[in-house]
Symmetry: C2
């Protein structure tokens, strides 16, 4: 590891340190001959500017933190990718933080940027440390995909309700009328939005919602299995399931199969996310795609605008979703009415 400083380069090139600095930062602010000399010295001494000193001087770290709820979720990978691409291109670095589902850790990361370890925070947790610091004490924050009702922060989201409605519309279009919903953890805005979308999809089709068709999950695979177990235990009829996450959809499919039901022949299933599970699923999963790269990218763009002191045009952005029709949905064989399914053994 080299240790040469700007001073040694200056001496070697026979110029002042200011000239070295300029030759490196704005090459054409310096006479070509001088530039040559400096560059030669830089090469000879294998000089690399000390980034810490530069950033300290400039009062900027050019680093942002992407803080996620739980890093085990592969969902965040593409978000990260979107953030990182934009960040990299703009000369920023991305520090990935894992909140491990603990509010306290969010506080830690907020503290990090207050201490100037980073310039800003892209938040993908639904909470901020409480008591909420007064707005003036909050560092630059952009919220992605989540909602923090208490604070009015710039946000990049999708329209969960419209997205869920699309999924239900698809099912309805296929002739399904007994559609179950595996929801996300329910006090959360995201889960609620998707559930409302489910309800409005039913309403649009003139279908009366049936509380027995609604099962609460937590987005994880196991809760998808459990959801099907519950549905079957209730003895309720259904020809389709809308799951608020792909992982739950896969869990549900596995459980349905274990119970002798075929997908999509007996039951159609739609997921949400278009995550890595969707393509690994057999048949591939029909699902609502979230453009994760784009969401991440947009969030980073917002952050850059904020950090540049420019006031962003829109402080909140809504990214479109897209229904991806694949193999787990097909037309309902049930009568157009609410007639029970052909034959279904109880669990």
């Amino acid at each position: 590891m080299t240790v040469s400083t700007i001073r040694s380069v200056a001496k070697y090139a026979g110029v002042s340190i200011a000239t070295v600095s300029r030759a490196l930062a704005r090459p054409n602010a310096v006479r070509p001959g001088t530039r040559e000399k400096v560059l030669a010295a830089v090469a000879a001494l294998d000089f690399v500017p000390n980034a810490q000193a530069v950033q300290f001087r400039r009062r900027a770290t050019r680093t942002v933190i992407l803080l996620v709820r739980d890093i085990s979720n592969p969902f965040y990978l593409d978000i990260f990718k979107g953030v990182e691409e934009i960040a990299f291109a703009a000369g920023y670095r991305v520090l990935m933080g894992d909140a491990r589902n603990e509010a306290a850790r969010v506080g830690h990361y907020v503290e990090m940027v207050r201490r100037r370890q980073a310039d800003g925070l892209i938040l993908m947790t639904g909470w901020l440390p409480s008591p909420l610091p007064k707005p003036s004490a909050l560092p630059p924050i952009v919220v992605a995909l989540e909602f923090i009702p208490e604070a009015d922060l710039p946000t990049v989201t999708i329209d969960n309700q419209a997205a869920a409605k699309q999924a239900v519309d698809h099912l309805v279009g296929l002739g399904h009328r007994r559609i179950a919903h595996l929801t996300g953890p329910t006090p959360e805005v995201m889960s609620l939005g998707r559930h409302e979308g489910y309800l409005s999809g039913l309403a649009a089709a003139g279908i009366e919602p049936d509380p027995d068709l609604i099962v609460r999950g937590d987005f994880h695979l196991a809760s998808g299995r459990a959801g099907v177990v519950e549905l079957l235990a209730r003895g309720v009829d259904f020809t389709a399931i809308f799951a608020s996450s792909d992982a739950m959809a896969v869990g549900a499919i596995n459980e349905l199969r274990a119970r002798g039901q075929r997908v999509p022949e007996d039951v159609s299933v739609v997921g949400f996310d278009d995550s890595i599970f969707a393509e690994a699923c057999d048949p591939p999963l029909t699902t609502v795609r979230q453009h994760r790269r784009e969401i991440g990218g947009r969030a980073m763009e917002l952050m850059i605008e904020i950090l540049s002191g420019r006031k962003p045009q829109r402080s909140s952005i809504c990214v479109d979703v897209e229904l991806v029709r694949r193999g787990t949905t097909k037309p309902s064989l049930a009568h157009p009415s609410d007639a029970p399914l052909p034959t279904k053994e109880a669990p």
Copy 2:
């Protein structure tokens, strides 16, 4: 965002900045009364030390970069988690870098630490920028799970050969003798190790390897499907498949099913990694588990030792793997000999 500095705190408390610094860094190097005053001032002014200044002064960033081959791979999530846990506890931060499979980007990250943006680099790519900088120009690097033959760097790995052999031993123990291997991308050390393990597993059982049973893949799902297509096209008999990654195993299973073969009844399948695919698979995948958290943690521990100037006891660590028997393997129905499978339609 607060802007108070140590100087304002000093003035407020009526002491010198040196005292403030001490009161914060080593509280008992200062008289209790003074400490009180300082702490009160800190609280009143909502002072947080500027981390950039501190680190600049101390010539350390307390940040390490975890650079992965391709961030889209969920495999790295748990590695990150392991790294981050140890790092966090030791007061380090982890910057996640994505090499996007490009050697040039590795160079970029090496450069980052040379510029003192970070103290060290945990490398999970199989390459370093070439031409290789002379060792003296290399920053602190720990290699995890990969191998960089050209350079002699501290490494945390698993014994790929022994691990693969375990998988094959398991299959052999179940009575399988016609075992296919879906390899990883082949010029790479990791893939080669696993293939050697496969071969030695066969050798130990006195089974002659059959080149027709070996298909090259790239660790991804699609190549698992393609591998089965190839195997079937070759018209070769097999009762089991060992795939060098879980993703390939899942792809293979999906393709087998599409061709009317049952898993594990007709064909047993073993994967490698125990990744997120393994549990989502139906039935759950028998696979070789890599303890990713531990691997990450060990790598970070090594890094901390190196950065602390302590010479690590062992510069290379090998983490154990574990065969996880689940639902995709069962005893072979084929004759104990090399007899062809009962009935199998050609593709």
